[in-house]
């Protein structure tokens, strides 16, 4: 292993710098452009971060040091891929967790309750399936994925439905079943856990 110096690390560091710029842009847009749609703010921030990645990579790279043209392209592709993957992880693995993850919301309710915690009944009064369903229906209607006619819901766009079907395929691949409940029923895990929670938490 050779050639590891501070200047040589500036190129690989470009995607991390780009991610930090993306997060900063996202915070600024969320705080100061309140009228901007949330998905649009995320997209603009990701674009600004990508521009920062390219700028940093170009200014940190001595073209004569890269060797062949192929090596130059390879480095460029690596850094671009690294930035895109890091940004995806930030948006869907961190920001979206706070936006829609049930586990995070439950943790926030439990944290607010302090050391004495909450009974299951109180926890479900603060956060329950009714609220979750309402929020999802609202988001799906706003995004044009579903439509309501005469008190009944219908599919309007198939884009997210395709994603849902792809997830079912992945569940079959990883869990051997189309839903987490069927997978758990097969392993007997969910029933055992639910019995224990009902016994100990009520």
């Amino acid at each position: 292993m050779s050639g590891l110096s501070f200047s040589s690390l500036l190129g690989p560091g470009a995607p991390v710098l780009g991610l930090l710029v993306c997060i900063a842009a996202h915070i600024l847009l969320s705080r100061h452009a309140r009228g901007l749609r949330r998905d649009l703010a995320v997209a603009v921030a990701a674009g600004v971060g990508f521009a920062a990645t390219v700028t940093a990579a170009c200014s940190a790279t001595d073209v004569s040091d890269l060797g062949s043209v192929l090596d130059g392209w390879s480095s460029g592709i690596m850094w671009a891929l690294t930035y895109l993957a890091l940004t995806y992880a930030y948006i869907f693995g961190f920001f979206n967790l706070g936006e829609s993850a049930r586990r995070i919301r439950l943790l926030i309710e439990l944290r607010a309750a302090g050391a004495q915690g909450l009974t299951l009944e109180r926890l479900l009064a603060a956060y329950n399936a009714e609220m979750i369903l309402d929020a999802r229906l609202r988001r799906l209607l706003a995004a044009g994925q579903i439509v309501e006619r005469g008190g009944r819901y219908y599919i309007q766009s198939r884009s997210m439905l395709r994603g849902a079907r792809a997830l079912v395929l992945l569940k079959r691949l990883y869990l051997g079943a189309p839903t987490e409940f069927e997978a758990a029923a097969r392993s007997g895990r969910r029933r055992a856990d639910s019995d224990r929670i009902a016994r100990n938490t009520r």
Binding site: L9, I27, S75, A85, I132, Y153, D193
Partner: protein
């Protein structure tokens, strides 16, 4: 080019090992096991590429190439694990879409959705996840947050406040 190929090949190996291990026996501590697999595959890939280049009398990777490999491999693993969390737990929005689609031209009412998507389906399993991961614990009749859970909730609460956004979920 070797660095790019090494990182992509290592990531594909990580995904394949994940599927194989999960189909053999799905671990209870899923994300901790994924972390161990991530590290094991990375170390194996770096050792393998070093040996292959040595045996083929090719120049070994430079230090910066190893950094590039670790960065890209890790960056690819993060969204992969994020996507897996949507596989591991049924998403309410996806469940709604699949149920509406399953009803076809008849569509579904809110009450019909509600019958299927109840607390036992949407909330209790996620609470079980928190207990299983040690983020919260049962204390008599109560659910109490643990130190790691409090840290996680605190980070998200702080970040949502920074974005001037309301509580999610």
């Amino acid at each position: 080019v070797s660095a790019l190929l090494t990182a992509v090949a290592a990531f594909l190996a990580f995904a394949i090992v994940h599927v194989v291990v999960w189909r053999l026996r799905r671990p209870r501590a899923e994300y901790a096991t994924l972390g161990v697999l991530w590290l094991a595959v990375l170390v194996a890939a770096l050792v393998a590429v070093h040996r292959v280049l040595l045996q083929a009398n090719l120049p070994s990777l430079a230090g910066v190439d190893y950094v590039n490999v670790v960065m890209l491999y890790t960056a690819l693993a993060l969204p992969y694990v994020t996507t897996y969390s949507a596989v591991q737990a049924d998403s309410p929005a996806m469940s709604v879409l699949l149920q509406i689609d399953g009803a076809g031209r008849a569509g579904v009412t809110r009450d019909e959705l509600r019958q299927e998507l109840n607390d036992g389906r949407l909330v209790i399993p996620r609470l079980e996840d928190l207990f299983r991961a040690g983020l919260a614990r049962r204390q008599g009749e109560r659910c109490v947050i643990g130190p790691r859970g409090a840290l996680m909730a605190g980070v998200h609460t702080w970040f949502r406040a920074l974005l001037r956004m309301e509580k999610g979920g």
